[in-house]
């Protein structure tokens, strides 16, 4: 069905945006994209910089670091050192998308397809977002947070609140729950559990007494039990619940920062997928519009120009290279999955027997819903794409003065590259593994953290300043121990600073 193009002018109007949006919505529905309702907002450059400064949120509590970010962005923008994004999209219900007023009509249409249907459906469908974020509540929560922190500033002074926020921000990455906690028990359940336990104990009491060894028991009693009994990886949560000196408002501030960290936690882990999904859909939706005749050749040329520059991956030796472009990787993987479904080769049948030849829409939808970057790459990166991107692995051991190419795009290297690349997106590898190990409950109340060293990677210098921040929150001495996999402490940090000792 050939139809008239919606527009042929670069200038956008609200009417045209509405028309494009309606057409894109129709086609998106045709592809069964499930989205939140959209709220499309047109903003200008300065408002975009405001949004940048407040981590993309429509409103945010005040903090100097956002001012710093604003100054940085506006300085860079005004001197032409950087452009601003064409859009920002917020995981909320309705899904808020900011469109820049400078965009041409083509750009607005691209951005609507990308953000309002691509990202939007990802937010609604992906399991991480479903588990960890509540899209319908986020804006209300931001309002609450802003007002609450504003009130704290009035009551307790801007400086007190600021130092609290500084400290919390330093631990933001360590303020997320990585696994769902079991729901707290109701009193009835608690009582039932106690009864069950008693009954169980009673039944086994004889065996207990017969195997009772008094000597062993004595030595156990000597060593103090750890608190917390198991190491705690959510540092902010632990501090919020257990720090001895904090006032209620300070605990609430920690909670607010923790909630924000939790809200952003899925985004950090799904960058490749999220952008890939959005790029795939802006491409697919626009292509369909072109085939229906809704957009003309000029529009399509402009679109392709924009699209290809977004998904361009400079090679590693290019001066513009700054790591793997998540848009490129994500888009290519999505397209590759579609290809494997539609036109599988013999190789694809061997590597992906379960999806080769399956209906692509269902397969992609499944992939979007049930993975994060790490597992997505591990599951779906195909040998063909590794060849196309000419990926290779570099092994960098600080003990050696040479770098080693450990795998390239050949038969023996595919699997290794795939798992190396997946690891590159594993937050567990990217961030140091630091957990709360012990609180000296009966002694000086000092807090001991443990850094579990992975692949001999040490902590950066910043650790000392972070400890200062933790000390602000905890109120007593802080110790941090770097521990190897053999449970050997090789370096300790202290706050207040005794000399940092190298135990080795």
């Amino acid at each position: 069905m050939q139809r008239e193009p919606i527009s042929s002018d670069a200038q956008w109007t609200f009417d045209l945006i509405e028309q494009y949006d309606a057409e894109i919505a129709r086609i998106a529905a045709h592809y069964k994209l499930d989205t939140y309702p959209n709220q499309i907002e047109i903003i200008n450059a300065e408002q975009m910089m405001d949004a940048y400064a407040s981590v993309g949120m429509p409103l945010h509590y005040n903090h100097w670091s956002y001012g710093k970010r604003f100054l940085d962005t506006s300085q860079n923008y005004q001197h032409g050192r950087m452009g601003l994004a064409y859009e920002i999209v917020i995981n909320s219900d309705p899904c808020i998308a900011y469109l820049m007023e400078e965009n041409s009509m083509m750009m607005q249409a691209l951005v609507i397809a990308h953000a309002c249907y691509g990202h939007n459906s990802f937010f609604k469908g992906n399991y991480l977002f479903r588990t960890w974020t509540d899209a319908s509540a986020i804006v209300d929560y931001l309002v609450f947070a802003k007002n609450y922190i504003g009130k704290c500033e009035e009551r307790h002074g801007v400086d007190a609140v600021e130092s609290m926020l500084d400290a919390c921000h330093a631990l933001m990455n360590f303020g997320v729950n990585r696994y769902i906690r079991p729901p707290s028990l109701t009193p009835e359940q608690e009582i039932r559990n106690i009864e069950e336990r008693e009954e169980y104990l009673q039944r086994h009491i004889n065996t207990l007494w017969t195997s009772f060894n008094p000597k062993q028991n004595d030595s156990e009693a000597e060593s103090k039990p750890n608190f917390p009994p198991e190491p705690e990886e959510n540092l902010l949560y632990f501090i919020e619940k257990n720090a001895p000196l904090l006032k209620p408002w300070q605990r609430e501030i920690i909670r607010i920062v923790r909630k924000m960290a939790q809200y952003f936690y899925p985004q950090k882990q799904t960058q490749v997928m999220n952008e890939g999904w959005a790029c795939f859909w802006h491409y697919t939706l626009t292509d369909k519009m072109y085939r229906e005749g809704l957009i003309n050749d000029g529009f399509m040329m402009e679109f392709l120009q924009a699209h290809t520059s977004v998904i361009y991956q400079p090679p590693f030796d290019n001066p513009y290279f700054s790591g793997i472009n998540p848009y490129t990787l994500g888009f290519n993987m999505m397209m590759d999955i579609k290809r494997i479904c539609q036109h599988p080769t013999q190789e694809d049948r061997e590597w992906f027997p379960d999806i080769a030849g399956s209906p692509w829409l269902t397969t992609l939808d499944y992939a979007m819903r049930n993975f994060k970057d790490e597992s997505f790459i591990l599951q779906y990166l195909s040998p063909r794409l590794i060849r196309e991107l000419k990926l290779f692995s570099i092994l960098d051991k600080s003990s050696s003065s040479h770098l080693k190419v450990s795998a390239i795009h050949n038969e023996s290297g595919y699997r290794q590259i795939r798992s190396d690349l997946a690891n590159q997106y594993n937050l567990g590898y990217l961030e140091p593994n630091i957990q709360i190990f012990n609180v000296d409950v009966t002694g000086d109340r000092s807090l001991t953290l443990r850094h579990y060293i992975h692949q001999e990677r040490p902590l950066a210098e910043s650790a000392n300043s972070v400890l200062n921040h933790i000390q602000t929150l905890w109120g007593f001495d802080i110790h941090l121990e770097s521990v190897t996999s053999n449970n050997e402490i090789i370096k300790t940090y202290h706050c207040p600073n005794k000399t940092n000792l190298d135990v080795t």
Binding site: L71, L403, K404
Partner: protein
């Protein structure tokens, strides 16, 4: 269903508070940058803000991250000639992102060393005057205003016909007509309705009588209505103009400074601060401000700013030479009624003994009658010399036009400045 909202008209300055917080937090560093830049700037050159550069390290927000070292595997795109097992020396650390191996800049958190941003003029002045407590400098009544400006201020009922405001007059007339004839209009329409009703019905005696009465009443009412004039004299409204005195929009500041050997560069810096303040203050009140620089040792000369502040002269001091030149400059170029003349004199108090009397006379007879204000600052740590004592005599005579103060250190400048100009508030 999508909602499309135009947010462009919403407020843009969402980041203002955060920006202020940032400036407040790094006040010390910024203030230092401002002070450095102040020394480089011309005193006239304070119309714009300044790019402030501070150390990026001091603004960093620390978090736990990996340092260099350990074992890492990274995947790169765009392989050209490598095969598995190739080894090559590690490229230098911190190299450009183009280097293989160290390209993972984001991982190491390496950024630029300096953080540069722009502050505007108001903020610049804030920082400049910080610790000096910048008070409300404006809104001071400047005296000796010589020109008037007339502007519209409401409406009056009596004025000349050329100021008649038609719309307003007619509006009032209309309101009056409604007020005066409103009730009869209502009655009239009721009567007319009745009349039409009766006319439609067949005529009998009773209705004929009523018809007649109705017609009479209607004519009466119509006549009454006609008597309400369309436009009456008290409907007329005229534009009202008032004449307000405006300060003459031009001002000139004559900076007089002793540059004899006894004036060190640091004293000159203090004087420069003082002149700068004066310039800013005057400029806030006038659209156009000129500055004349007169320096003197034993002879006076009019010079440009650069020479005024930075050239070194030696020799004795005769203050009257400068005052004479000042008087001449004012007389010739800045006639009394077009310009507001301000004179600021800075000196370390040295003068040739016999000259001070002459200075007194020059000021009293020639200069003070012509100027808005004459401010004298003596920048000295020591005891006052004869010039101070001569000037002191003038103070009682010219309370409004003349003021003098001593400045000992840079901390005094602002308070002194404020005192010098505070006398005008009353």
């Amino acid at each position: 269903m999508s909602f499309i909202i135009d947010r462009r008209l919403n407020s843009k300055k969402k980041s203002t508070v955060n920006r202020q917080r940032f400036l407040k937090r790094y006040r010390k560093q910024i203030k230092k940058a401002v002070e450095d830049s102040l020394n480089k700037r011309s005193i006239k050159d304070l119309q714009h803000g300044e790019n402030i550069t501070i150390d990026r390290d001091s603004t960093s927000e620390p978090y736990f991250q990996h340092g260099r070292g350990g074992t890492q595997t990274r995947v790169y795109p765009g392989n050209k000639e490598f095969v598995t097992g190739d080894e090559f020396p590690r490229p230098p650390a911190g190299g450009g992102s183009g280097n293989s191996g160290s390209g993972d800049a984001s991982d190491q958190g390496i950024g630029e060393d300096e953080f540069t941003f722009h502050i505007n003029q108001a903020e610049f002045l804030d920082f400049m005057f910080e610790g000096l407590e910048l008070p409300n400098l404006i809104k001071k009544q400047l005296k000796s205003t010589t020109s008037f400006e007339s502007h519209q201020a409401g409406f009056t009922s009596h004025s000349s016909p050329d100021r008649l405001h038609l719309t307003r007059s007619l509006r009032i007339a209309y309101a009056r007509r409604i007020a005066l004839s409103g009730s009869s209009s209502k009655e009239l329409s009721a009567l007319k309705k009745r009349l039409w009703q009766l006319e439609a019905e067949p005529v009998d005696d009773q209705s004929a009588l009523e018809l007649k009465q109705l017609k009479q009443k209607i004519t009466l009412l119509l006549e009454n209505k006609k008597r309400v004039p369309f436009l009456d004299t008290y409907d007329l409204r005229y534009r009202n103009y008032v004449r307000t005195p405006t300060p003459s929009t031009k001002a000139v500041i004559i900076c007089v400074m002793d540059v004899s050997g006894s004036m060190t560069q640091s004293i000159k810096e203090l004087a420069k601060r003082f002149f700068t303040l004066l310039y800013l203050f005057i400029q806030k009140n006038y659209q156009q401000t000129e500055v004349v620089f007169i320096r003197h040792h034993t002879r006076a000369a009019e010079v440009d700013e650069q020479e005024f502040f930075y050239s070194r002269e030696t020799g004795g001091t005769i203050v009257s030479s400068a005052l004479q030149l000042t008087a001449d400059v004012i007389e010739q170029r800045y006639g009394h009624d077009q310009y507001n003349v301000y004179v600021a004199q800075a000196s370390d108090g040295d003068n040739w003994d016999n000259d001070s009397e002459l200075c007194h006379k020059l000021l009293k007879d020639k200069i003070l009658p012509m100027v808005q204000y004459f401010a004298y600052v003596e920048i000295t740590q020591g005891v006052h010399q004869n010039l101070w004592h001569e000037y002191k005599k003038l103070q009682s005579e010219f309370e409004r036009e003349f003021a003098m103060q001593q400045v000992r250190s840079s901390a005094d400048i602002y308070p002194v400045f404020r005192e010098l100009f505070a006398s005008k508030v009353d």
